[in-house]
Amino acid sequence: MARGFSTPSPAERALRYALLLAVLLLTVGPFLWELSTSLKGAGEDVYTRTPSFLPDRPTLANYATVARTVPVWTYAANSLLVAGIAVLGNAVGATAAGFALARLRFRGARLVLGLVLATLVLPGEVTVVSQYVTVRSLGLADTLLGVALPGAIGMLNVLLMRTAFRAVPPDLDAAALVDGANVWQRLVHVGLPNVRGMLSVVVIFTFIGAWDDFLWPLIVLDDPNRYTLTVGLQYLNGTFSANPRLIAAGTMIAFLPIVAVFAALQRSFFRGVEEGAVKG
């Protein structure tokens, strides 16, 4: 009789954990190494041939130095503003459009859906130049609004929300219709409670995408005071490449908030993934 499928032998279990730990070292190790570098004092040699993973005397001095030399907290606030606009715009705009395309019949619905689908074959990088021309003609070149606006309603998010609304059992909606509910009531009371999983995936991805984006803000922004964190980091790297401790501290300021956001929301993220949100 073969061993039960769901209970691995002790040997297999040990092998699996060994592999898991090896991959863990490979994926998380570099982040920890960077964190450790950022906490090492000026007196500690970060270049030593036998690198020590734990700082001798951990210090936050590098973070203070970074904040003194570049306006890193302003950058963080800028990134937060851009990500906030993107999240709000998508949560409202993509949800509303997704609902209309999934549940309402109206003239031109098929055309809109077709065009939304067509945009998916177009990588964002292909249109950055003409996006920039558009943003410039709106008078938004070198502004944070110019950075945030084009992504404030993502077409992929519209499609994801439409898919989610289509998966809501039609009976629920029909019952609401019979009860004389209008469109808004159907959206708020029948639709929304049933698409929370997808909505959280959209929100998480939008936040991460906006916070992490580099190419677009690099093109739109000129004034160093308006930089987002990623552009500011690259600037920092160009200015202080002689001191890896400072670069490391700046990197951690950009990285740790996104880890916190993800850690807080990862349960609903992986649940949304299991519901098939990321299948493409």
Partner: protein, 290 residues
């Protein structure tokens, strides 16, 4: 109020349609228009016919960039198609603490490519972790020039892309594996099929469609690479600017006094033409299978 207003759907879909028109459709059309002009980042420009395309034909930096893209694609494709699947199989089994491992493996995905490139730039530095350890164990006497050699820089960027992509494609495979019948696996196990045989005959056929999708996603994103190369080379494109990607060239020409939006637009259309390739292959295989 039971009276159904006909404009309500348009109220809901309106903002999205506005964004569709202003930030998706118009820029697509305008890219084509701009590519026939001499438009500059600071304004101006006039119709110049095929001049930008003519210029692209003789652009040696573009030729380098296309070679880089090809190398990127050829290395990323097999690695990122296979490794994340193995990783997904590793974290699929519900062992104590597996959620922690899944989340941890996903960390490089949520980090910005800029953050990741700065970290790896430090790890791969002449005096960084890898060279330090390699020297300590006596494997090398001089530091390996990961970031200053034309090909090593490209390979370092590729390694970074692969490392950052592992968790992303792992999650896609994980979602696909959930749909591969558990009963089928158990039946095969009871019949005494070895783990390797079960992998070939149950798992692989079950995730074939996903593998195809993943390989197209990998190909397209390999052709779109920007941040890794930009940050690892400090925006210079490496020795002699030979480690540029097509997107780096687009960015370079979209800025400043030396910028040329018309030429950048022509390069954008070229990028589009290149990325459509993998998608057409997907459609073609899909048709044949159907």
């Amino acid at each position: 109020m039971t009276h159904r207003r006909r404009y309500t759907p348009w109220l809901l879909v309106g903002p999205a349609v506005l964004w569709l028109a202003v930030f998706n459709l118009w820029p697509s059309v305008n890219t084509v228009i701009l590519s026939f002009t001499s438009a500059r980042p600071l304004g101006g420009g006039r119709f110049t016919g095929l001049a930008n395309y003519h210029r692209a034909l003789g652009d040696e930096q573009l030729a380098d960039a296309l070679v880089n893209s090809l190398v990127y694609l050829l290395v990323c494709l097999p690695l990122l198609t296979v490794l994340p699947l193995l990783l997904a199989l590793l974290v699929e089994r519900k062992l104590p603490g597996i959620t922690f491992f899944r989340t941890a493996f996903y960390t490089p995905v949520i980090a910005s490519a800029v953050v990741v490139a700065l970290i790896w730039g430090w790890v791969l530095d002449d005096r960084g972790l890898v060279n330090g350890l390699a020297r300590e164990v006596g494997a090398i006497t001089h530091p390996v020039p990961f970031l200053t050699d034309r090909w090593l820089l490209l390979l370092s960027a590729i390694a970074l892309t692969v490392w950052k992509g592992l968790g992303y494609y792992m999650v896609i495979y994980l979602s696909a594996l959930g749909n591969v019948g558990r009963e089928l696996h158990e039946a095969a196990a009871v019949d005494g099929a070895s783990a390797v045989r079960r992998f070939w005959h149950v798992t692989l056929p079950g995730v074939r469609a996903t593998m195809l999708l993943v390989s197209v996603l990998i190909s397209v994103s390999a052709l779109r690479v920007f941040s890794e190369l930009y940050v690892l080379s400090d925006g210079t494109g490496g020795p002699g600017g030979r480690d540029m990607s097509v997107v780096m060239l687009i960015q370079m020409y979209s800025r400043g006094f030396t910028g040329h939006l018309g030429y950048a637009s022509a390069l954008s259309l070229l990028l589009f033409a290149v990325t459509v390739g993998p998608m057409l292959v997907l459609l073609w295989i899909d048709r044949k299978a159907a």
